[in-house]
């Protein structure tokens, strides 16, 4: 049983989801409300990881954050370490890889908020940022939760990107999907089987719990029940 890999994968998914929440909300806000003409280009950029094969994505990320790259060199001077083949490198890769899975549901739910509610908040003297947190976000909770679930689940299942960028280092970058693959190659089918089953169980439990909580949300805000 690959406990180390499971724990690593859970940590990776958790932190990726959290970072995507922090980055994704403002990004989705901009994508929904910006009047800029070239917004469609930004939308396409965000959607890119959906279309690129994971290994292509992984390769580009490896080159983009590797020791020869400006980002990699900056990181080296700041921390003395290297981004690829580290947990931090996996985080960067996962955030990019799962970005559209967070941003798109966020943006869709923002767009569904009645514009007149936003205007009412402004007329009552509430600033735009405050309106975002007091009106838009609370009314977008289902979409935000969906985005977080999707990012978590998507990151948990990452393989190609992680293999490229992470290097399969036990305890550091050997996620559970790689561990299962590795076990199968080592002809240790029992371990592969057990780990897969546990992963399946964890994923299902996470999804069920989150969908169950979403039901409860409807009781808190009766508006959704209509």
């Amino acid at each position: 049983m690959e406990w180390q890999a499971i724990w690593l994968s859970l940590r990776l998914s958790f932190w990726t989801t959290l970072i995507l929440l922090a980055l994704g909300l403002p990004a989705a806000h901009w994508l929904t409300y910006s009047p800029r003409r070239w917004k469609f280009l930004a939308e396409a950029l965000v959607a890119l990881p959906l279309v690129l094969p994971p290994t292509v994505l992984g390769f580009y990320i490896l080159v983009a954050i590797g020791p020869h790259s400006p980002a990699g060199r900056l990181y080296a001077t700041l921390t003395g370490g290297m981004l690829p083949f580290s947990f931090q490198g996996l985080l960067v890769a996962s955030v990019i890889y799962s970005l559209p899975f967070a941003v798109q549901p966020f943006a869709a739910s923002f767009a569904a908020v009645d514009r007149r509610l936003i205007e009412a908040s402004w007329c009552l003297g509430i600033s735009r940022p405050a309106t975002f947190f007091r009106v838009i976000v609370p009314l977008s909770i289902p979409g935000i939760v969906t985005g977080m679930i999707l990012s978590f689940a998507h990151t948990l299942g990452e393989f190609g990107v992680v293999l490229m960028v992470g290097g399969n280092l036990p305890g550091v970058t050997r996620t559970v999907s790689i561990a299962i693959y590795d076990d199968a190659q080592a002809l240790d089918y029992t371990a592969a089987w057990h780990t897969s089953l546990l992963l399946l169980g964890i994923s299902f439990a996470v999804l069920a719990a989150t969908y169950g909580l979403r039901r409860k949300a409807w009781a808190v805000w009766p508006a959704y029940g209509q």
Partner: protein, 242 residues
């Protein structure tokens, strides 16, 4: 020597990027080595030599690289990424035609003709684009005059280990795999050795990466690989010496 006795209480760590065909052989070698040298922990990571090359070019934190060919270590040396003079050839590999015990295909007697059998619909090889064992397989098929005929039956594994798995699971009826994998315990199959003359020798080379934190430990392990004891273990898995 002086550096290592200046005492880190923790055992030295060695990470080895190892070609997939070494999986069982290297596990065995590491076990023997660490029985005698308790001050070192060795973690082998198995994968495709080509992928390791790409990662090592980007300074992947491995101490030692054991490739399935000599070209990848040479290229790394050309980039100035290895400790000078640390390149070495540690084994010569062999390819075999392998099938599970339950497939009913008698490769041992049919030899290469087994591939022509109608029962054989898929032949697993490692991806020749980047895996040395895959390249060897393709070379052998060409020189034995079968390539054109069976080309459509080829299925590619990402590395030799995955190719072996394809054959092991029965998804491919036959695989052209590393002898070292066929000799692994629990592999449950039988094989036919492809004539050595049919493909360029699979010289397997290695190198110590220049950023290793434990150059002495790496040197010592390398010495072990090349010493009689190491060679004997490698031989058990079908690797011959130079």
């Amino acid at each position: 020597m002086l550096l290592s006795t200046a005492c880190t209480p923790h055992p030295a760590q060695l990470r080895i990027a190892a070609a997939a065909d070494l999986r069982f052989a290297l596990d065995d070698l590491v076990k023997h080595y660490t029985e005698q040298h308790s001050k070192v922990t060795i973690t082998p990571v198995y994968g495709s030599s080509g992928l390791f090359y790409a990662q090592l070019s980007n300074h992947a934190p491995f101490d030692l690289f054991l490739s399935a060919d000599v070209q990848y270590p040479d290229k790394l040396a050309a980039q100035g990424l290895v400790l000078p003079g640390s390149q070495f050839t540690y084994a010569v590999g062999r390819i075999v035609l392998w099938t599970t015990n339950s497939s009913g295909i008698d490769v041992e007697h049919l030899g290469i003709e087994a591939l022509r059998q109608p029962a054989v619909k898929h032949i697993a090889i490692a991806n020749p684009a980047h895996a040395p064992y895959g390249q060897a397989a393709v070379a052998a098929l060409h020189s034995l005059g079968l390539y054109g005929e069976i080309q459509s039956k080829l299925v590619m594994g990402e590395n030799i280990s995955q190719a072996f798995q394809l054959a092991q699971s029965g998804a491919a009826e036959v695989g052209i795999v590393a002898l070292s994998l066929a000799l692994a315990p629990g592999s449950n199959g039988h094989y036919w050795e492809v004539p050595v003359a049919a493909y360029p020798p699979l010289k397997q080379g290695g190198a110590i990466m220049k950023w290793t934190a434990n150059p002495e430990a790496a040197q010592q392990f390398r010495a072990f690989l090349l010493a009689p004891e190491g060679r004997a273990i490698l031989k058990r898995y079908g690797f011959s010496g130079e």
